[in-house]
Symmetry: C4
Subunit: 234 residues, 4 copies
């Protein structure tokens, strides 16, 4: 059973294993997010005036920032999973360096439940009243690292010299994907000076610029590399 086809299948399985291991880490991190949201404690409610729907609603109210954090992080981990999914759709081989890059990327995925829990613990009213910057900074930096690692992986995979994606990926696809992957962490980074030098209230909404910037960028990119310009291009 050591024919070339068999070896080819074996190598493909090794690559699949790398991908499925990554998927498992994604799946666990995305599901663990909810663990940081603690159910309102019955004993505590009993002590503070008794259990009632009003008291429970009140406790749930305090959990709203946690839910928001949960939803945002779920969305972004999901987004990075789809990107990872798309990116490794091109990969046909792997080497030790890709393994390491992928592990570092997964490290920041695994850190997300902590970052989310930390930020959302302090993202209630206090965040704005006391202009708490540390938890927000931690959260934003986690996303930045994720974004930069994603960019580095994309650059490494799409580099034809590394022979990880064969046949070579279409250069335009590479260009667009690189721009997209670098824009996300930069916009996140932008939130930090806003938080430190202006008001954290504005900083919180900076990530919303991501989809808008993306659209504008994509329109610009498409215009520049549209079919009629293409002959001049390559």
């Amino acid at each position: 059973m050591s024919t070339p086809l068999h070896n080819e299948l074996r190598k493909e399985f090794q690559l699949e294993r790398l991908i499925l291991f990554s998927d498992a880490v994604f799946a666990i991190a995305i599901t663990l997010l909810v663990i940081e949201i603690k159910v309102p404690d019955k004993e505590l409610l009993k002590h503070n005036g008794g259990i009632s729907d009003a008291a429970i609603v009140d406790s749930l109210g305090h959990l709203i920032p946690k839910f928001i954090g949960f939803i945002i992080s779920f969305m972004f981990i999901g987004l990075y999973w789809t990107i990872h999914h798309r990116m490794f759709g091109f990969v046909t081989s792997y080497n030790r360096k890709l393994l390491v890059l992928n592990l570092v990327f997964l490290f920041f995925i695994a850190l997300m439940p902590f970052s989310t829990g930390f930020y959302s613990e302090y993202s209630g009213r206090e965040l704005f009243e006391k202009q708490l910057k540390i938890p927000f900074t931690f959260y934003v930096l986690n996303f930045c690292c994720l974004g930069f690692m994603n960019y580095f992986m994309w650059r490494y995979i799409s580099n034809p010299k590394n022979k990880l994606a064969e046949p070579a990926i279409d250069p335009l696809t590479v260009k667009i994907a690189r721009i997209r992957s670098i824009v996300v962490p930069f916009i996140f980074l932008l939130a930090l000076p806003v938080a430190y030098f202006s008001n954290i209230l504005y900083a919180v909404f900076i990530p919303m610029l991501i989809p808008i910037t993306m659209r504008i960028l994509m329109r610009v990119v498409k215009k520049r590399y549209s079919p009629k310009n293409k002959p001049f291009q390559s």
Copy 2:
């Protein structure tokens, strides 16, 4: 290695990856359910009159609502897994929108350990004595969202225009599956007015109507679309 067969296999693997990622989220959520059930605390028992079988049985008694919640949620997550399993058995391709729909669906699966923990924390004697509606509402709404997302996904997948399931699924199968998937969340929704305007004691048993309604519906459906009527139908 870039033959059409290879590309076909690659695309199929990408789809498998989407499915296995979903399975991992299902598996983690279903196994995390038990984390919300805390072992009776030895130190607490020591303080409250000493450790004895009687005291432990008493503590376990307080955990009964948690076990019921655990069993119900395990059953429903398991059920939705089998539905997901069956549904994606038809899928032969995917697109960005299916990825997003699936992620939103998984979001409500990942929320289940919290909802279950929340509902079962307050589903002991207090539930009926104080007619607590909030935890029950939360739990029911989680199931509703799950059910509606399942319905939307089924509708999206079975729509021949989207070319996600080829050859097109048999229209009768589609019809039955759509009805089944929309009935579940509606019956859950029904529990809410019962809880709010009547007694929560009755509301708790509403979900038991699901299997009964299903059977009646399936009988009606089968009668209408039975072979002898089929010529008139299509």
Copy 3:
């Protein structure tokens, strides 16, 4: 792409998905076991005379029953995984009932971290001094349910009428596997009367009878069905 081979592959993938979902539950349950073992609390040590190696060793000493419980449960979940692995090695098809049987089986796997945590919380010196029967009973019953579900699944799969394993499994293999799978829960059950009517100290060692009984049984079975008897047999 709807050739018979394709459909065959698709069906096979559906079966694989069932198996990999089970594997994920096994893997999560086996890894969550350790979560019940809490690291000795630094703050607590500080209050009780200060942090020192002696104090930490003392705290670790209290964790010994937890480690024993962890090791035993790890071993048994691992064992049941290998059995599940072997059993589904014969399966070539599946139906709704196998899905349900497998889910119920997985339910008792998912319950293991709780049972283990519960039993090992009370399996220190108190277990013997106070003859605590409840946590031990819970633990034993969890294993029994696991064992019986395993037996039922095995019986269902190996029954040629259900057409789940084709070609039909060798009758001798079926017989041996059935005996093996039913012996384990029965020996566990045996531990309960010993615990209740004799001393729990003896009951704890009953499971050790499993490997011994297995060997004797296998010798008897092999003698009866040895090649020279075989002609008379079938």
Copy 4:
């Protein structure tokens, strides 16, 4: 569907299942590591002088040893995953003993979140001030067991008698892999006498010798088994 190819595929799938189960345990253990790092408690900060960025930074400061532990363990679990990945890349068959060896190996992987939590709980200033040896010993021994199990598995797989890797692995590859796998736990073991007879401060840095020793060793090995010596060798 019971052709030799089908059986071959089936057996291969059984082996894949073993590998994917291992991957799931790796993925869960690596992601659970972060669970031991608790978010700075808001209520606690409120009592100790109020919530402020300074107070949060202070709390985060106390978490630094935890983060270091998290990073180190993440790195090593990742490393052992890549080794496991590489090792099973050679495996073409399996038997009961390999299953057991692999389970014992996974046991020590599953124990990592506890060991890491335990060591990093006491690896702050106290570690050096009070020369706490127990948590460090526990952590080091966990790595040693991991390393030795890895060595035993590698020896078992690479032994041509066991027919687990066919065609037989190149003897030089085997030799190098064996040396590499045995050096890691030995260097970890070395940290223990340093901790007990000298100062734990030095012991903590012993694992850093691993990459250096590896390089020197590899250079020696390559010299001895270089092409020009090869004829004399075999």
